[in-house]
Symmetry: C2
């Protein structure tokens, strides 16, 4: 397998993008990434795009061919493949693109992620998102994602003494980080009291414990590391790429306070990268709800199981802490256009490792990690990056 | 790149399967394929599943993890990836699985395809299918798939003198083939007069020119050829695998009587396989409408451009003809559960090359081809198989 590097990145502003359509956003991010990599369309061998549910959100499938078409590449008849693993669709697109280059099958490959979620009502959006869970055994009985993560939160609180204030600290931190990120959906500082006073969605989760409904697209350009320097002064190597699955339904899981898919994907990715979790300098993790970030930093081995809440409370995971988590603002505050999130995570880590993250730069960041989850943990992707 | 072979196949009955759900069907076909390959779950390294629109049809996304879960494989935490390219989703899953094995990244890989279309009204199904075309520039203006293919048919008739009776011959032939295939949706012989007398959907296409709404699933198991004999007496090698894209919208195309994506994918697949079209003994091609089979056999190089109608009329493409096309009954009469079709094509070709196609067996078939199209040609996949 060949070493693979990121040679270009692009990302739209995340938020309620009523001025543009899905195809506009992916073109916008694509142009940024292609210009960043200083390549032309003729250099591209293949495209992969992560998208969860454009069929439901904008009544459009066939997203692979669509993005090649709207990028002006249809005359080249490139293979363009849409992949889907719910909210992990972006990370899955990245992994398929990595494999295409690592295998020697392709040289220059585009990995894109996109979701346009605000063209439907929030009720329709919630129902579309529920399609990431087990429709027949969870959603038909009334469970939505806040309810599923609330159950995980409840058990984590009971078993490890985690408090809602600790969860709220995750939201406070990620909103602070987002204030430093130009593309973030929210540029609003919040407090623990704000989270507590916000309406309860599914006890113990309040509105401000939840990531928003968002529009956005992100693109990265990959190349074999051996030729990456031709295109780019600071290629970022992808030194680990792993994917794992688990049951869709929570009730079939071994344990509700651990996402086994994360644990398995992380183990493989660390082994590929030949590093241990304590060598990671900066990470983007899947904080679809505040409790999800707490589970993630435990399952990724950054802290002991049960210590995730305390880590947030003590500032370990804030900018300036031992391991800054979600410097982009995370899903919580940068926004969560579901198919785009996994690629936006790679975008953020690439900026950090290049030293181009501006006011949210983590000093001397050399190794970064991105963690993307589908549903309540039915799929997990872990990627490790190195300067 | 390593040589890749099919070591097991399975396919459900196609049709209106109101007795089972999407997950039941994919498990049913999966068990058949796994038993056929004489492997166990522990042998499997990865899964790929083609599905077009379960989000619309059964309100379920996250199909990769779902099928691993319902196959009882969740304890293994295998990577399981859903891919989508509209009606070419199955062929796309096959290609991703081929690449995973060819690259040396995985050994035993499952390629599945599934669609459950009959749980919604036929109007809803037609609208879901329209998401394969360009929603903003075609469907919002009233175009559906019969209308798009009708335009191609009209131009083909004007330019090459193709007649509707010639198109009807495609339907007559494929219904006859389907009568010989136990899994086919229709076991009904029809005549040219039946096609002519059936209601017009979009002139010149009648109801009996159109493939039906169907439920079904198909699965193939792939392995490196070097170890395939351990599992299977008659492994079928995949000697060509290619994918190409084109504009989603017809009005952006160079020519409406050719699918350029088919031409490009075929050229690559023939080059990989080092064969010419006249060496193909049996082929499954994408006959979503009768005109589509005529375009396909021209674009694949089996007959000259403009000669496709005559080929059907003269029996060239029937069982017993020079090049039997769609011995399964094709999309037209075997049925077209869109995400399953590309894998069902591989299933049929594998049976033919093994000599296990029963009453529809093509004698001494050594080389087979499968051709799967997304939308009106935005994506095309071509696979070539050898005994």
């Amino acid at each position: 397998m060949r070493s693979v590097s990121i040679i270009g990145v692009g990302c739209t502003k995340f938020g309620e993008r009523w001025d543009v359509s899905l195809r506009d956003m992916v073109s916008e991010a694509g142009v940024m990434a292609i210009e960043d990599a200083e390549i032309t369309g003729e250099d591209i061998d293949a495209l992969f795009v992560g998208n969860m549910s454009a069929g439901r959100f904008v009544e459009q499938e066939h997203i692979g061919a669509l993005i090649a078409d709207f990028a002006g590449l249809s005359r080249l008849h490139l293979p363009s493949t849409r992949v889907e693993a719910a909210c992990a669709s972006g990370g899955l697109a990245l992994r398929q693109a990595v494999l295409a280059v690592a295998s020697g099958y392709n040289d220059i490959v585009i990995a894109a992620g996109v979701e346009k979620m605000t063209d439907v009502s929030s009720g329709s959006a919630a129902d579309a998102l529920a399609a990431a869970a087990d429709r027949e055994w969870e959603c038909f009985f009334g469970a939505t994602f806040p309810a599923l993560y609330a159950m995980m939160a409840k058990l984590h609180m009971r078993r490890f003494g985690t408090t809602h204030d600790q969860m709220a600290e995750v939201a406070v931190k990620n909103h602070h980080h987002a204030c430093l990120n130009p593309i973030a959906q929210y540029h609003t500082e919040i407090t623990v009291e704000d989270v507590d006073r916000s309406p309860v969605v599914a006890d113990p989760l309040h509105v401000l414990d939840c990531s928003p409904i968002s529009d956005g697209a992100a693109v990265v350009v990959l190349a074999p590391t051996e030729i990456a320097k031709r295109f780019c002064d600071t290629p970022i190597r992808i030194v680990g790429s792993a994917q794992a699955s688990d049951t869709l339904a929570l009730h079939d899981r071994r344990d509700l306070t651990t996402l086994d898919a994360t644990v398995h994907a992380a183990r493989k990715a660390y082994a590929q990268a030949r590093i241990t979790p304590d060598q990671v300098d900066v990470a983007e993790v899947h904080d679809c709800f505040t409790i999800a970030e707490i589970l993630a930093i435990e399952d990724l081995g950054f802290v002991e199981k049960g210590e995730g809440g305390k880590a947030a409370e003590e500032g370990l995971t804030a900018l300036g802490g031992r391991l800054p988590i979600n410097t982009s603002g995370g899903l919580k505050a940068c926004g969560h256009p579901v198919g785009a999130t996994g690629i936006k995570q790679a975008y953020e880590i690439a900026l950090q490792l290049r030293g181009e993250a501006g006011r949210r730069q983590v000093e001397d960041a050399e190794i970064g990690l991105a963690h993307n989850v589908g549903g309540s943990g039915g799929t997990a992707l872990v990627h490790i990056f190195s300067r």
